[in-house]
Amino acid sequence: MPADTLLATDVSRRRLLAGGAAGLAALGLPGRRASAARPLIVGFIYVGPKDDYGYNQAHAEAAAMLKKTPGVSIVEEERVPESDDVSRTMESMIRLDGATLLFPTSFGYFDPYMLRTAAKYPNIQFRHCGGLWQKDKHPMNTGSYFGYIGMCQYLNGIAAAHATKSKKIGFVAAKPIPQVLVNINSFTLGARSVDPAITTSVIFTGEWSMPVKEAEASNSLIDQGIDVVTCHVDSPKVVMETAERRGIFACGYHANQSKLAPKGYLTGAEWNWITVYRQFIDDALNGKPIPNFTRGGLAEGFVKMSPYGPGLSDAGRKNVDSVKAEMMKGGYTVFKGPLKDNKGNTVIPAGTAYPETAIQLESLNYLVEGVNGAIA
């Protein structure tokens, strides 16, 4: 296999360099690594560019903050596809850069690429963003972390309900995976908690980042009469700009996009990854085990809301603020029975409730009543 040959040459070159360095050290020449204590080398892998106004930027901003931490050295690679390429990137970070803690941040990296690489390197720690780590199924040197950003999408939905006049709101989605579906459902449930007549139209683009298709999807939704849009794609830039140009409202996602839509931006659901990474790296520096399964919401500081934009009325702001105050207590419940999906089946029976922490939500596979759209 060409990939393996490539790797083999890389590694032998590395050995050669290491040998050379050892030789220099033996001669008494100052070697950078030889003199100081070896820093903790942490690898970040992104699926897209680091400055995409979205998912990757949210991680990269946290990584940039970590660079100032003494004793920690950060290596990064962006635009790594969810294919064998990521295995190669992980191997080279481990074997060439000496990374001992890896954060492959994209959903598709988890299975099989990260799991396979983790089995090969049992002494390296892997923590994946968004995957569902299970103790009986997955290696102990792997793990996953994620934030309950669906809660913020619920708040987005409340804000949208106060801004919409047509009672039709829209969602540009990438792929129908559980996290995206939770967001669509939360956005809808939030809006319908204010006004049950509101419906959400969803368009799946099928790709995490496809600017022309995202612009087409936004325009199609706006032509249908929706007047508030949000999204779950890697880079919400195009959706926000299209909404602003067509004069409708928008709720942000991943990062603060208020600069892109100064008139129409209501508020937004943002990540706050530094909380998670800081905790992991403190654990690693102090020699404590890094947790395998980490989740948190607004209360834990894993996610946050953008400041309100001018389009949101005072009543809307008060409504969002009061629900947010409830969420800050932790364990808030959006998904509770009786709940029907958009085909009329009861998906959560009366009396059952899934709070934000419920693991069942991470394998959610339906769209709730009030959503126009289908998964397949």
Binding site: G48, P49, D51, D52, Y53, R79, S201, V202, I203, F204, T205, G206, S209, M210, P211, V212, K213, E214, A215, E216, A217, N219, S220, L221, I222, D223, Q224, S235, K237, V238, E241, T242, R245, R246, K259, L260, N372, G373, A374, A376
Partner: protein, 304 residues
Amino acid sequence: MEALSTVLLAMLAGSLRVSTPFLFVSIGECLTEKSGRINLGNEGVLVLGAMVAYATSYETGSPWAGVAAAGLAGLLLGGLHGAVCSLARVNDVAMGIAIMLAGTGLAFFFGKPYVQPTAPLLPGIPFGFWSSSAQVRNALLVCPLFLLGIAAAVAMEWCFRATRVGLRIRIVGDSQDAALAMGLPIARTRFLATACGSALAGVGGAFLSLYYPGSWNEGLSSGQGLMAVALVVFARWNPINCIYASLLFGAAGALGPSLQTIGITWGYYLFYAAPYVVTLIVLIITARGGRSLRGMPGQLSIGR
């Protein structure tokens, strides 16, 4: 019926919005291939053009300066391709791939600082002013570059058909022996045709970043330049057909999202494949009866 008219309107709007980059790259490639050379590098030129246009528009505040700069960037990169391919025993397909990678690489490298800022965009011409419907007005908001592209295609067809320059390009592309016998400057003709073709492709890139979707980022082209090169075969090396092919491609691309909004939600991956399915069907129909590749210039390296 309302649903049908919605989809048709969306397809019309989509064909007007999405087709322009296809149009520019395909007529540019048409010019190059008519002279007997292939330029696969136009994908790279498209991306570089998009980035240069956005950066120039941001720095100068004038989107039209951006369009000019994109054309110039295309001219230079295409000129490089043309010049290297003029050397003996250089394979234009391989060189084209190198140009494609160089163009995208340059664009990503120099484009980093321009992902975040917002540049002034090209204005649209409101042909839908007569309508009270916001959908119609938006659908008929046409970018001046689209009209420019149509004009360029018509002019190019006329040039090939009725002018001395056009005849010379066709001779160089069709028969090297005849061109030599007539004393035509083969290398120079191909060099100029390649450079000018890429300049057009660069302007197509300006449309992507300065009109629709109207921002610069690294996923902007996602292969549209390569598709446009294929459209030239589909259009049988005729610039007028390039217009139809581009419009058809744009309309087929708008099918997926618009069907989802009216509630046809199954199989959207299939509808996203519609442009490619349409291409296949038309190619099969037009290629029947052994008339395949009719209109192909005789000196193209893939045909020799």
